[in-house]
Symmetry: C2
Subunit: 269 residues, 2 copies
């Protein structure tokens, strides 16, 4: 079984409650990888028999670090209309709220379509070397990344006064290979290296606060992508008052926009 | 009293429940202006005695049209840490869930700051004429807009085959004037003309599905903006399967980024 499927496996307790367990595969410094949390919350909805249609929006609010061990997800259907279905979720650990989330599913239809964004023009994945994360914490080992721009010097510990652009351009996919689905895409939408690290080229204490991902593709389009690398583009607008943002795009290998994502992240200094 | 303050007034029922009433000031076609819903949900948190710090993130999921009359907001504090405070909200009308929302407040601190986005360079507000909405539905009369790009022909009803850029550039503020605060900023983040109208220059049936706004400024910065016009920039990435996105920036008159916002919108055809 793929580490992502193993890590996000849930056992149903009743119609609205599911039980899960953290996995060493997706640990981060001081808790779990935020993309794991996003993925497991989305999976709770994906596996709900009441679900109608693929997901179009996911918001995860990271309330407290998710510690090693068991957790519970409460998954409540709040409203189902003709076009959209709304879900509210909470992930708790021993009664403590670690994350809240909302998921909207939608009835995708073959109507007028128009793409106004353009994929960044970069070298194909086989011409970009795989980045060596040097075995640092769990989740980094679960992704294959080929940076065209915005890789990070993971050894640096001194503040860098030469600030860099906030942009990352990267070919990325699950490691080992795994056919793309919405759960994997949700996790990938949080797999960009933290913008503060990219700009300052040094680690500083940070924590994701709120992540929103919009899905622009149905299951069939994701199946067509298979396990080929996605093109990820991420940038930031502002670092101010201890919070900065990230805006990201995830494109299929052949240039279809699969998801857009924004997040706001706390930073210490 | 300003229409926004009147429309978003809430009467506390108990610690977690507030009562409100829709207002003719912010009606839309088939319901209320989504910015009103965002504003009144944020106001529920702003007026909560348990609140710690200004808001940094707001997500509103539009579940069903909000009809004329009374509504109730349930506002639950889910987790308060040292840096962030998480709230979950629901807006119901006669027991029907019309919107769910999450708000994160944050302890903003005078730490390292860095702005990587740049305000669009456009003519100052006094050199751009005020757009005449011709008295069309309620909420449009509550905003003064000066379009530099992306205004809409509100009379057109025929499909336009010459697609336009998805971009709007506009000086905008409350009408009548009102000093800016987070509630007004939340409403303004939804006050852009619908991207599908801009691209096709024609009205098509649409409905906001999920809106996320990140606030990048504290109360003091908003007070300094006062009632001067904000610079709004909005664009879209993709219209596909009956859903399109919008990404927006809201800048102060003197070029400070006050908020960024994304939303996903359902369209019929």
């Amino acid at each position: 079984m793929h580490p992502l499927d193993e890590a996000t496996a849930l056992e149903r307790q009743d119609e609205e409650r599911l039980a899960g367990r953290t996995s060493a595969h997706y640990t981060n410094m001081g808790g779990m990888f935020g993309g794991f949390t996003a993925g497991v919350l989305l999976r709770a909805v994906m596996e709900d028999r009441r679900r109608q249609g693929p997901p179009v929006a996911l918001t995860v609010n990271y309330c407290a670090a998710l510690g090693e061990g068991a957790f519970e997800i409460e998954c409540r259907e709040r409203r189902t209309g003709r076009s959209t279905q709304h879900w509210s979720l909470e992930l708790t650990q021993a009664g403590r709220v670690c994350a809240t989330a909302s998921v909207v599913c939608g009835a995708r239809r073959p109507v007028w379509s128009h793409v106004t964004a353009h994929p960044p023009k970069i070298a194909p994945p086989d011409q970009v070397p795989i980045f060596d994360f040097g075995g640092r914490f769990g989740w980094l080992n679960r992704y294959e990344m080929r940076f065209v721009k915005g890789e990070v010097d993971f050894a640096a510990r001194e503040a860098n006064t030469n600030l860099r652009e906030p942009v990352t351009l990267v070919w990325m996919r699950d490691k080992p290979d795994r056919p793309l689905d919405h759960v994997a895409l949700a996790a990938l939408s949080d797999a960009f290296i933290i913008r503060a690290f990219v700009v300052r080229n040094v680690f500083v204490p940070v924590g994701s606060v709120s992540l929103t991902t919009f899905f622009h593709a149905d299951e069939e389009t994701l199946r067509a992508q298979g396990s080929k690398p996605l093109l990820g583009h991420a940038t930031a607008h502002v670092f101010n008052g201890g919070f900065f943002d990230q805006a990201a795009e995830l494109w299929s290998t052949d240039g279809r926009l699969l998801a857009t994502s924004t997040q706001i992240v706390w930073y210490k200094e």
